[in-house]
Structures are given as C-alpha cells and as structure tokens.
C-alpha cells in the first residue's frame, strides 16, 4: 500500500533512477552535519547512526528507493497461523558476513536478544514481541503479544550481527556507556564494510565484494566527513573537495543550483513541524495579563492560533517554498495518512480575532513560546515569523529560542505555554505519532506528548489500531483519530520539512524521505 501513496514523495528519486547506471569505478566523498556516534547498530537509535549503518549491516527487510518494504536478509515473510499471532521470516541462504562467517537464524535470534536487552536503545521496537523462535537455520518466528500487521515495516532498521563475531570480541551487549569492540568495528552482511574509523574526523568505507545482492553503485571507496558548520560544508562542496553534502541551508539551494557542475536534490522529509500547547496547565506560566487560567485549554483559542498563522508565506519566505503545508501529524502519503479530510485551516486574521473574542480574549494575551534554534530547518526563524503573525491578532508570544541540548528537558519540565516540535514517524505509519504525541502520557505511551493532551477515545482506539489486521478498518480508526485531533486543534501542524541535498553534477544518488543516505545507489561519472 505504501508503494502508490508514496509516489509524490519519491518523484525525484524515480527520475534519477533512469540515470543511475553503473559507470566506471570512482571514489566518493560525502559530508553531513553530524558524525554517527557509534558503529553499534543497537546502541543508539538516532537517524545519523541507523542511516549510516544501513550501508554496512542489513535487516531482515529493507526499504527500497520508494520506501516500500522489500526482502533483504529475509526472502519472504508471512503472518503466523494456528492461534499464534506474529510473523514468520524465511531467511536468505548463502549470505556471508564480511569476515566470512555464515548468516543463520541463530544470528537473528542473537541480534533480537541483543537489541531488546536493557542496554539497547532500540528495544522499544520489540515491545510488541512476546518471544522469538528459531524454526530451522533459515526460518525464524517472531511471536507478538497481539496481531501486528505492520511489524515487518517496524523492524526495517533492525540490523543483524553475527553471534560468533560478537561473542569472540566481547560485544554481546550494546555499548551503552563504555565502548566495546562493536563501537568502532563492524561485521555486517551489507554492501559496504568499514575501512577506517576516525570518530568525528573521517570514516572510510570500502565495497563488500562478496555481497549477496547485485551492485548498482560504482563506488570503490567512500569517505565520510562530518562538517558541522553549514557554510563550511557548502564551501567544501563548491571547492570540489567533497562530492556530496546533506543537508544544505534552504537559502543556498538556488545559488548551488545556479552553479555549473552542481545540482540540488530537494524532496520532502517525513518530518512534520507543528506547534503544541500546555493542555494540562491550569494557568499560563509566562503571561502578564491572564493569570489563574490557561486560554490554550480552550479549543477555540487553539483554532484561532491555527488561523492566525499564514503558513504559505512562512513557507515562501522562510522555507523558500521548499516545504509543503501539513494538516496532520504525519505528511500526506505515508501509510495511515487520513485522506478523509486533508483540509487545513485557512489563514484568516479576522476569523482568528473573532474566535478569540468569542472565547473571551478579545484583546488577546501574552504567553511563552518555546523554540529550538538548532534542531529543525530554520526553526528559530519560523518561530519568529509565527510570533509576529500571532502578535497581529493580539497573541503576544514571548519567544525563547534555545539549543536543542536543553530544549526537551525544558519542555518536560513544563517551561512553556506553547512550543514548536517536529516529528518523523520511525515506522512511517500514522500509528507512530499517535502513540508518542496523542496518547495520554503514562510513562510508556505519549512519551513526547509534553502538553499532556488527553482524549479517552484516542486512548481507546490506539491498541485497536496497533492490532487491527484489516487495513480498511484500521484506516477508519486512524481517520477518526485524525478528525478528533483536527477538531480539537490539539496540535497546529505547519508543514512537512524539506530535504535538500547538494552534489556535483557527476554524482547520482537516490533521496529517500527518511533522509537515509544509501551508498548502494550512488554512481559517480
């Protein structure tokens, strides 16, 4: 189902497909803002790490150019039958690790144990899993507590280690605080192997010559350098020292495009940027006028906020028209996105003022607006723009923009009245944001629902959604949740973040909405 719906996201990718024909061998140097902090696939669940390691390790399933789930170390999979809920995976035979060891079901079991251990940062993926059973060397069952239609999708980044190798090098458990062998060494089944690891400075990859799949890339050596400073990175590209960089600042896209020998690849990420409110606060923390009550508890006020924001102009000026306005907590096109109602509140200052008046705030009020200034693209600028728009309907935001390093703590501590947040669903499915953002916080669920938004109906629907196998029924429930969130204006979705890659003309890559950079699709003329 993902296939057709993701088309608009991956238009660019499709176009490039045609040119992606293997040419003569080439070395490839690329850069990104952050260095993958570890080479251990289970130690940290962060995009830079998972993205990078997907070039070295492989999972049972993987995502294709169009994000669709396709066979990887598992050749096929089907739901378990006979009373048991769960999935059976048939593993690929004859796959060898880069050190020559054979890949078997036992490694999957080991990797499962490792990845679901306490020291692992990805164990939440396996929350639904009751147990894992090795049927034979190349068959393995994942028994889930409840029916779980999307389980295979949810473990696309569950990367497999070799038990023997891990044991031999004392890397049985993920390195959480003290490094172990797996922190700087790898032994995957993937298309590339680690040639040199110099944390924070340079990481070099070499093709894995006896990879099971057919190569589409022509990279003979790939060097990755983290470059924190955007301008520096761009300079490095323009001076020809690197072949590819991601991301580049929006405002520079045009310039790079204009230059001979360079091109820009811009698509959409799966991250939606939105405003959240302190639903569970009985009083605003940073207001001068309104004391003792919290206007944002009133849906009309939240709706007014949505109407007061001219997202199109924000997009045009701040985001250089590269973003796409969003109406839900996940971008249109992802699985479970509610097609039932894709409208978003129109920009209408008058209406906003009216709504405020009706709610009893005719002459507005002031409040504290929290924003990160180094997390999302132009996040601070967006907040400033939004603040000035809100001011025009009498909502005087006191903007605090801070580095992400302390941001989430501030939010957890409730030091805001309204805040900016971006969400990218790890499973690329509508259930993900509901689980983390809409469910009433209880320690396990709603862990990122800082405002403590709570709706009984949604809480009731979530488990059903998670276990519903019939996609039509499931979608109906998702639509209902989406509708509730929209009427209550629980959050104010702004736009889907753009994804801007810049590279030399000679380079061909495939851009996926999950912002993973896959070397196996890179060709250099």
């Amino acid at each position: 189902m993902t296939k057709h719906s993701l088309r608009r996201l991956t238009l660019s990718a499709a176009l490039l497909l045609s040119t992606a024909l293997a040419a003569e061998a080439a070395t490839f140097r690329w850069a990104a803002t952050t260095d993958p902090q570890t080479m251990d696939p289970h130690a940290v669940n962060a995009a830079p790490v998972t993205s990078f390691l997907n070039n070295i390790y492989e999972g049972l399933v993987r995502r294709g150019r169009d994000m669709a789930i396709e066979p990887s170390l598992a050749t096929s999979w089907e739901p378990l039958t006979g009373g048991e809920t769960g999935w059976r995976f048939h593993l690929r035979e004859g796959v060898k690790y880069q050190d020559g060891a054979d890949f078997t079901a036992d490694d999957v079991l080991f990797s499962y144990e490792r990845a679901s251990s306490e020291a692992s940062d990805v164990r939440s993926w396996f929350a639904p899993v009751a147990s894992v059973r090795v049927v034979d060397d190349f068959t393995i069952d994942f028994i889930t507590k409840a029916p779980n239609p999307l389980f295979p999708d949810s473990i696309a980044n569950f990367l497999i280690l070799d038990r023997g190798w891990a044991m031999a090098n004392g890397a049985e458990a993920p390195s959480r605080d003290v490094e172990n062998f797996a922190t700087r060494n790898t032994n995957g089944t993937g298309p590339f192997k680690l040639a040199k690891r110099d944390p924070g400075i340079e990481t070099r990859l070499a093709p894995n010559t006896d990879w099971w799949d057919t190569r589409e890339d022509n990279v003979t050596e790939a060097t990755f350098t983290p470059i924190g400073n955007a301008a520096t990175g761009l300079a490095a590209l323009l001076s020809g020292e690197i072949d590819f960089i991601s991301p580049i600042p929006l405002q520079d896209a045009e310039q790079v495009e204009g230059r001979a020998g360079f091109k820009v690849l811009s698509g959409l990420e799966t991250r939606v940027i939105f405003f959240g409110f302190g639903h569970n606060k009985d009083a605003l923390s940073y207001s001068d006028e309104t004391t003792g009550k919290n206007p944002f508890q009133d849906a009309r006020v939240r709706a007014a906020v949505a109407q007061a924001l001219d997202v199109d102009t924000i997009n045009r000026v701040v985001m250089r028209g590269k973003a796409v306005p969003a109406d839900q907590l996940l971008p249109a096109g992802l699985s479970g996105y509610s097609e039932a109602d894709t409208s978003r509140p129109a920009f209408d200052e008058a209406a906003a003022r009216a709504a405020l008046a009706e709610a009893g705030y005719a002459d507005g009020f002031s409040f504290g607006l929290m924003c990160p200034n180094d997390r999302y693209i132009n996040d601070e600028a967006v907040c400033r723009a939004a603040a000035s728009m809100l001011a025009k309907v009498g909502l005087n935001a006191k903007l605090t923009a801070m580095p992400v390093r302390g941001y989430f703590d501030e939010l957890r501590a409730g030091n805001y009245d309204m805040y900016l947040l971006g969400w990218s669903p790890g499973t690329f499915d509508a259930e993900h944001p509901i689980r983390f953002l809409a469910a009433t916080p209880d320690g396990a669920l709603g862990t990122w629902n800082f405002g403590g938004y709570s709706n009984a109906r949604i809480d009731a629907l979530l488990p059903l959604i998670q276990s519903e196998v019939d996609l039509a029924k499931r979608q109906a429930m998702l639509d209902e949740v989406a509708a509730i969130l929209k009427d209550e204006a629980a959050y104010v979705p702004l736009y889907t973040e753009p994804l801007i890659w810049a590279m030399k003309e000679s380079v061909t890559v495939t851009q996926r909405p999950d912002n993973f950079f896959m070397l196996r699709w890179v060709t250099v003329q």
């Binding site: 600042p249 200034n373 728009m389 605090t400 030091n415």
Partner: protein
C-alpha cells in the same frame, strides 16, 4: 573644570590628531544613533506587530528595494536600519556594562592585590589564571547555567542580557586586575602613599582616595580596548549559539543571522551590520590609542 579641560594637553593633542577626531565623530554618531534609536528608527524591530513577513528579504534601496526600507529587510521583513540602530544600542549596552563590571571587579581586586601583596596577591593572581583558562564561551555557559539553576523560570528570558553581560565581564576582568596590580605596585612605594600610611589612614581609604586616582590613566586605555573586545565577544558568543535571542538582536546577533545569507545573494543582511560593527569597534580602538598617547607622555 571645563577650562582645565579645554587647555589640557589631552585636548591639545586631540585637536592635532585627525585619526582621533574622526574616530570620535564616528563613535559619537553611532552612540547617538543607538541612544536615540527609538526616535530615529523607522520601526521598532522588537515589536512583532510592526513588521510583516511579506516584506521579507527586500534589497537596499539602491538595489531596487522598497522605499520604506533604506537598507532593505531581513528574512523576517524587519527594516535593517531599525535593526542596526537597535542592535548597536544593545551591543553598546552590553559592551559598556560588561566593561564597567569587569573594571570595577578587576580594579578593586588588582589594587588590593598590589597594595597588600603576599598571600592575598597570590590567591587573586591564581584565580586570574583559572579565569584565563576558562574560554569565554564556557564562562557564558556557566553563568547562564547557574542563573537557570538558581533563579525562577519566568525570569530566564529577561536574564539573557544580564547573563551575557556578566559572562563577558568575567572573561575581561583579568586585564584590569593585572594592570591595576602592576600600577599599584609602583604607586604603593611612592612617598605620598607612605605618608598616608604613617598618618594612619585606613587602607581602603588609601587605595580609593590616593592610589586609584593615580592609576586611572592606563586603566582608561584598557577600558576602551575592552569595550571593543566586549562588543566583539558578544558577537562571537552569539555565533557559538549562546548569544541573544534573534527577536531582540544585537549587532552580533544580526551578523550571526546574516551569516546564513552569505551565499544566498542577500548580502546586505550580513555585510551592512558587519560594516557597522567594524566602524564602531575601530573608532573605539582608535580612541583607545589616542588615550594611550595622552597618558604616556614619553610616547609623545
């Protein structure tokens, strides 16, 4: 008093130093512009209502911009002229207060250390070493952190400027301390101080009434130099991400914001504030040089 000033050697030298006079003019202009910003500036860049995203990224007038915005607008549609005037106001506020705090702290410690010497002196100087070992950015983080830790939440936003000032002051006081200490060592041995000691005057009184006035010269020079340094430091800190919020920009913050547009073609957002900052800092430094000459007759 005025009479004394008019025919003071300083003023005489001043009239003979074109550089100093030019610098003074520039400094006075900027200072005036900054102080009168609320009346001079076409709009108030802090008042979110006054500007419109629609006017974003307009080039300066001579590049076919909008008549309302002489120097164009930034990505928020803020009038550059206003931003710069208010920004200079803020930078100068921060610079001056930081410099004053630093000088008060440094001079009092330095004079005391120079006067008493011995253990107290040793301690102060070691503390100075520690201070030097902490990069300014760290001091800033430290103060910021402590402020956040100690003070009630709702104060935090109003705190950013004081925090910045304090941080900068703390990374500058050592200069004052060292200089004051050195000069005090010299004065301390002079007869007029010993006379005061013999008379049995209180040490604090001796330091304040007798020594301090006699070491002001070199300190004044450092003040100007450090004023410039403070303004630059503020810019650097905001580049490192611990400066002021972008909705109340200082010159430094403006430049930091402008950096994003280095390549994108909107050059004015970066270079106009930068030029302004340079003009300000250079003129302050030139005045510093001039003072150095005045207070060091041997250099005439």
């Amino acid at each position: 008093m005025w009479a004394r000033f008019w025919q003071s050697d300083g003023f005489w030298l001043f009239r003979r130093s074109p550089a100093a006079m030019l610098a003074a003019v520039v400094a006075v202009l900027i200072l005036g512009g900054a102080l009168l910003a609320p009346w001079l500036a076409p709009s108030n860049p802090y008042d979110l209502r006054t500007f419109d995203l629609m006017d974003g990224l307009l080039p300066p007038l001579w590049q076919g911009g909008d008549a309302r915005f002489l120097l164009g607008t930034d990505d928020q549609g803020r009038d550059m002229v206003s931003s710069i005037l208010y920004g200079a106001r803020l930078s100068l506020l921060i610079g001056f207060s930081a410099m004053l705090i630093a000088s008060v702290l440094g001079v009092s410690l330095g004079v005391a250390a120079g006067y008493w010497g011995g253990r107290f002196d040793a301690v102060v100087m070691r503390v100075a070493d520690v201070q030097l070992a902490l990069p300014a950015i760290l001091t800033a983080l430290l103060i910021d952190g402590i402020a956040r830790g100690v003070l009630p939440r709702e104060l935090h936003d109003d705190l950013r400027i004081p925090v910045l000032i304090l941080a900068i002051a703390l990374s500058l006081w050592v200069n004052f301390a060292r200089t004051a200490r050195a000069s005090t060592f010299v004065e301390r041995r002079k007869d007029y101080v010993e006379a005061a000691i013999i008379m049995g005057q209180h040490p604090l009184r001796i330091m304040a009434r007798h020594i301090l006035p006699n070491i002001l010269g070199p300190l004044l020079v450092i003040m100007t130099v450090d004023l410039a340094a403070a303004i630059l430091l503020e810019a650097t800190l905001s580049f490192l991400g611990i400066g002021l919020p972008a909705d109340s920009p200082s010159l430094g913050t403006l430049i930091r914001i402008g950096m994003q547009f280095l390549l994108s073609g909107e050059w004015w957002i970066l270079w106009i504030p930068t030029l302004f900052l340079v003009a300000l800092v250079v003129s302050i430094n030139l005045l510093g040089d001039f003072l150095r000459e005045v207070f060091n007759p041997r250099l005439r």
